[in-house]
């Protein structure tokens, strides 16, 4: 906690120095990462711990309550128990002490409850043993089963309940988001398989971290399948590392590749040869800073178009869909699912270029010296010139920090890379 508060104090002048020049050297970065666990994620982990214990209690409490209520026969009244549940949740979630110690957003507790309940619904689709693992509260099951069973007519089960909820105006609880989550999970599990047949990819959007949701889906549904989890928010993820993970770990291929395109075509070839092999890619934040580039998205889209490679991704940035043009969209073949969870982006915002991490500038400085030392005297001179130029222009508003910024922003990303490549193209290769 001290770390947090100290960093959080308005001494953000450090931000000035702690520019994003930090990625100059690989070694330094790795170094930094080793020190990181002792710094920021510790707080994050502790926070998580605290919350988890609290929620367990909350959930148990709630379910006891919910169980105690009589079940009515009509469709609308069935939500009564959950309504109660909500009130409980509400009061618990907004109880200030608990709240503060949890340090989550207001909805955090309820969201955890939501997640805790999600698997219970999921049981219907998953293997019996996986449901054991998940250990959903057994009391919930009859209730849920009842709710499900009651939606009689042939309409989509969940669709039906949504409309019911809409009619029962104020009874809507957190249910909609909760139901949405459950529904998505359900649909995901169905679709992920139908995907194999029809080649749809799934993208989740909406406010709140969708990591826990996808994780629980992964744990319940994909334990028997080959799958990759890609953290798109990870600051130094590259398309190359993703592709290498597929070729190296999944396809057991040891060779190296000249460029990502070759590697992609190799993967596609291999997948074509072995249609029985199904690979699931779970990409948290496919709009992550390092995956935004046009080429990366193109490669991912090509992979997604393969009939036995399935992509399940989440997006958070408001401009994320701009990364895909028509042709990429059709390669990805997205199905959109709204999953607003209101969960805090704990993991996603805990890396070094986040506001949450103290940006002292030490990293940038040490990487600069690192680069400096590794240069020849001549190059050192040039490096110095560059640095001076950078410093000269630091107050110039029209001179943005882009050249040194390792993470192109979503909107400018594709065009910029395109410009760079086109300007560096040789003019007349026939002369060679």
């Amino acid at each position: 906690m001290e770390v947090r508060s100290e960093r959080a104090s308005p001494r953000k002048r450090h931000l000035e120095n702690g520019s994003k020049k930090s990625h100059a050297s690989e070694g330094e970065e790795a170094n930094e990462k080793e020190t990181l666990p002792s710094r920021c994620p510790v707080t994050a982990r502790r926070v998580l711990e605290v919350r988890f214990v609290g929620d367990e209690n909350v959930i148990d409490h709630i379910f006891d309550k919910g169980e105690g209520l009589p079940l009515n026969k009509t469709a609308v009244n069935e939500f009564h128990p959950e309504e109660q549940l909500n009130e409980e949740l509400g009061s618990c979630a907004y109880d200030e002490r608990e709240y503060l110690s949890a340090l989550g957003t207001g909805a955090a507790a309820s969201e955890m409850a939501e997640l805790a309940r999600t698997p219970s619904r999921n049981v219907r689709f998953s293997d019996p043993h996986s449901s054991e693992e998940l250990g959903s509260p057994p009391k919930v099951r009859p209730l849920l089963a009842y709710v499900v069973g009651s939606s009689d007519c042939g309409e989509s089960v969940v669709e039906e309940r949504f409309t019911d909820l809409d009619f029962a105006d104020d009874a809507v609880i957190f249910a909609e988001s909760m139901e949405a989550l459950i529904w998505v999970l359900e649909r995901l599990s169905e679709e992920s398989e139908c995907l194999g047949l029809f080649g749809f990819s799934i993208v989740l959007y909406g406010l709140g971290s969708k990591r826990a949701l996808l994780e629980s889906f992964r744990n319940s549904m994909l334990t028997n399948m080959v799958h990759l989890v890609i953290n798109g928010f990870f600051p130094s993820i590259t398309i190359k590392s993703i592709l290498s993970a597929i070729t190296g770990d999944v396809l057991d291929y040891e060779g190296s590749f000249r460029n990502p395109l070759d590697q992609t075509s190799f993967i596609l070839e291999a997948l074509k040869k072995d249609p029985a092999l199904h690979i699931f890619l779970i990409i948290h934040n496919i709009d992550g800073p390092m995956l935004r580039g046009e080429k990366t998205q193109q490669i991912l889209a090509q992979l997604a178009a393969a009939p036995n490679l399935h992509v399940i991704a989440s997006i958070d940035h408001i401009n994320a869909p701009l990364a895909w043009d028509q042709s990429k969209m059709s390669l990805f073949n997205w199905l959109w699912y709204e999953t607003t969870t209101y969960q805090p982006y704990v993991e996603e915002t805990s890396y070094e270029n986040s506001l949450l991490v103290q940006q002292s500038g030490a990293l940038a400085l040490s990487s600069l010296t690192h680069v400096m030392r590794s240069l020849t005297p001549n190059a050192r001179g040039i490096f110095q010139l560059l640095a001076e130029f950078q410093l000269q222009n630091k107050d110039n508003p029209s001179y943005t920090d882009q050249p040194m910024n390792p993470h192109p922003k979503a909107t400018s990303g594709p065009q910029k890379t395109a410009n760079i490549t086109s300007s560096s193209s040789p003019q007349d290769p026939t002369s060679s």
Partner: protein
């Protein structure tokens, strides 16, 4: 194994057991309590239906493209003969420095084009030349890449041919992906081309090569297809064209430009000096709306596919097509999704198959499924309309129910059988009316009919008023067209309608013969008109007009008019009989997919709107009473990120972090009830604030800036 790490962003999980349990998609189709037989059946039906649809769409596409592709192939062929006839004429030399180019205007639905190009490549491969290269703009960021790609394609093809024969040369091992870089220049290509053509012609090679190259004649052209001309860099394109034109005497190039917008793009991208090197011929492909009409015709307005969309769902798909992408592919995708959803969610979709199978399956319904049938709203309505004995029987006796279900299914099939021909007839009659009251396209009419009783709409009434005024020859042609349509459709009812229409046509034609007798009547009518021309007085004019109106009202209709009235009434009658909306039919849920909301949500999502609503109005997602705020008030119980977001809406371009923090603390501490002037900013609040801000940054609303200390820049504008 956990998936969060500070040193790794990519985690691979392999199932522990070596043998991977491969679930077929069918396995996910059943819930655990439902017996798997029917769900399996459902799944199989789905699969076979989808296969059918896919085959159908492919064949449609092929058919539609046939014309244009053939003309392109013809173009390629003639251009090569030009190259081959090596006359030394002046005109020839003039012309031969130009590269024959086909500009193929395809329309903006880029996603549909791939299919077209694939077909084109195949066709050219088969009939014109073995050397066809398709270039995508994304593979050609520079000239070097372009040439590399070109050479790789061509020589790769060549090498694979060689490999087929025998591996005499070590060079053949390169196969496709060359280990060492070949020198990428057109000169290399030129050399290669000469050896290839010489090989195939002079040294009599093995039979295989003869068979591959022999049929293409002496100098097969090299066809280069630029799939998406607009996305190429104009510099690359210019250089490439200039270089190629230098070699045109040795290499018979033919270019094909795939153009999405308009042919003028070529001139916009290429300066005159370059475009003059091309001899451009324009080809226009079929418009995507025509394509859609054909697809609708073959997939939706037909009885051959049992699966149907209801009005709303169809509307969603159509509006995505018309207002978003013009992509037939996406339309099919939407259809596929609805198909999948229908078969997954509707247990009774087992019955969604052709007539004979359906009645067989109805025979085998399980008791649970019978219960499902009883709970269908449309079936309940049907039951209510029955006699009490029958009602009891229907609700208790499974066997009887099955019988009835079979009958109802038959009725449903019959309905469809009559619906489509009648719809087409109505369309033929109304599509040429002024202002198109019932729509220009049959799909508009169709969705109208699906949604409500079409004869109750204003549009229908006005259309029939116009029909009643139609001239005879127009009416006759429309009727003959209708008869034509009806002859294709079979069925007792339809045949009756057809016969009736035929008699109408006959009667109309007979009128022609006797109409001479009525000439005199017409003569009478003209007399008041003469008088009307003489009088110029306003009062009198009005009077005569009124008189004429009276006269018209009272005038006995002549024979033609009577007949016309009768004919139109007949049409009206069959429309009322056959164009009922499907919702009125029992068991329509079995074949109609109705969740339009689901379709819209999954195909046409608005992620940014979702995020902003979640931030602006958390009550929508978290319906807690305390979150319900009226107007712009910020509830203190809202999630931190919502509070921070709302506060940031009040700021300008740059936001002072400290001010923001203070405002945040004020709002948050309002819960605790202490109305102290300056809220205490304790560590926890501080941390919460920082988290909220960093989350906003993550989602893309603010970004750190260096222009001002302790400030962040706002990235979005507008309130909500």
């Amino acid at each position: 194994m956990t998936t969060s790490s500070v040193s790794k962003g990519c985690f691979v999980f392999k199932p522990a057991s070596k043998k991977q349990r491969i679930l077929s998609a069918g396995d996910y189709f059943h819930d655990e309590d439902e017996e798997s037989a029917s769900s399996k059946l459902r799944f199989e039906t789905l699969q076979s239906l989808w296969q059918q649809i896919k085959l159908e769409t492919d064949s449609i596409q092929e058919e539609l493209n046939k014309n244009i592709l053939d003309s392109l192939a013809e173009f390629a062929r003639t251009s090569t003969t030009f190259f081959r006839s090596k006359t030394d004429e002046w005109t020839f030399r003039m012309r031969s420095s130009e590269i024959p180019t086909a500009a193929l205007v395809l329309g903006v639905n880029v996603t549909d084009h791939n299919m077209t190009f694939q077909n084109l490549c195949e066709l050219l491969h088969q009939s014109v030349t073995p050397y066809v290269v398709g270039l995508d703009a994304k593979d050609c960021p520079s000239l070097k890449h372009t040439l590399q790609k070109l050479l790789l394609h061509l020589m790769g093809y060549h090498l694979s041919v060689e490999e087929d024969e025998e591996e005499t040369q070590p060079k053949a091992n390169i196969s496709g992906i060359p280990k060492k870089r070949i020198q990428c220049s057109i000169a290399t290509l030129c050399e290669w081309y000469q050896t290839v053509t010489k090989d195939s012609n002079v040294l009599s090679p093995s039979k295989k090569r003869k068979s591959t190259l022999g049929k293409f004649g002496q100098n097969p052209p090299i066809v280069v297809i630029f799939k998406d001309l607009e996305s190429f860099t104009s510099k690359v394109l210019q250089d490439f064209i200039i270089i190629c034109s230098q070699y045109i005497h040795q290499l018979p190039f033919i270019f094909i430009f795939g153009i999405a917008t308009s042919p003028a793009t070529v001139h916009r991208m290429l300066p005159h000096s370059v475009s003059s090197l091309l001899c451009i011929e324009l080809f226009q492909s079929l418009s995507c709306t025509k394509h859609l009409t054909t697809v609708m015709d073959k997939l939706i307005l037909t009885t051959s596919f049992p699966f149907k969309l209801n009005g709303k769902a169809l509307q969603v798909l159509l509006s995505i097509f018309l207002f978003h992408d013009f992509s037939v592919r996406n339309f099919i995708k939407g259809l596929q999704l609805s198909l999948m959803e229908h078969f997954y969610n509707q247990p009774l979709s087992v019955l969604c198959c052709d007539k004979h199978k359906a009645s067989k399956r109805a025979q085998m319904l399980s008791s649970e499924e019978c219960e499902n049938v009883r709970q269908l709203p449309s079936f309940m309505r049907y039951v209510e309309n029955q006699e009490p004995d029958e009602q009891v029987k229907l609700l208790t006796d499974d066997h009887h129910l099955k019988e009835v279900v079979q009958q109802l299914l038959k009725q449903l099939h019959l309905y469809h059988k009559n619906y489509y021909p009648v719809l087409r007839c109505l369309h033929v009659l109304t599509s040429s009316l002024p202002k198109y009251p019932l729509g220009k396209q049959i799909r508009e009419l169709h969705s109208m009919c699906l949604e409500r009783n079409v004869w109750e709409t204003e549009e229908y009434k006005s259309a029939f008023q116009l029909l009643r005024l139609m001239a005879k020859d127009e009416l006759l042609t429309a009727f003959t067209k209708c008869i034509e349509i009806l002859t294709y459709a079979k069925g007792k009812v339809i045949n009756e309608v057809q016969e009736k229409l035929e008699t109408f046509v006959k009667l109309f034609q007979e009128l022609d013969n006797i109409s001479l007798d009525y000439k005199e009547d017409d003569g009478e009518d003209t007399s008041p008109q003469k008088g009307f021309q003489q009088k110029t007085d306003l009062f009198h004019l009005q009077k005569t007009l009124l008189e004429m109106k009276e006269l018209k009202k009272n005038k006995k209709l002549n024979k033609f008019e009577m007949l016309r009235l009768e004919a139109i009434d007949f049409i009206d009658h069959i429309v009322k009989k056959h164009l009922l909306p499907p919702e009125y039919l029992a068991l329509h849920e079995v074949v109609y997919y109705s969740c339009s909301g689901t379709l819209r949500k999954h195909l046409n999502a608005a992620p940014r709107t979702a995020i902003q609503t979640a931030l602006n109005n958390p009550y929508k997602y978290l319906p807690n009473e305390s979150l319900q705020s009226d107007g712009g008030a910020i509830s203190s119980t809202a999630p931190d990120i919502c509070i921070a977001y709302k506060l940031h809406l009040e700021c300008g371009r740059l936001i002072n972090l400290f001010d923001w923090l203070e405002a945040f603390a004020t709002v948050v501490s309002a819960t605790e009830g202490n109305d102290t002037e300056s809220p205490v900013i304790d560590d926890v609040k501080h941390a919460r604030f920082i988290r909220a801000v960093s989350e906003l940054e993550f989602v893309g609303f603010v970004k750190p800036t260096k222009k001002k200390t302790d400030h962040v820049a706002r990235l979005t504008w507008g309130g909500c």
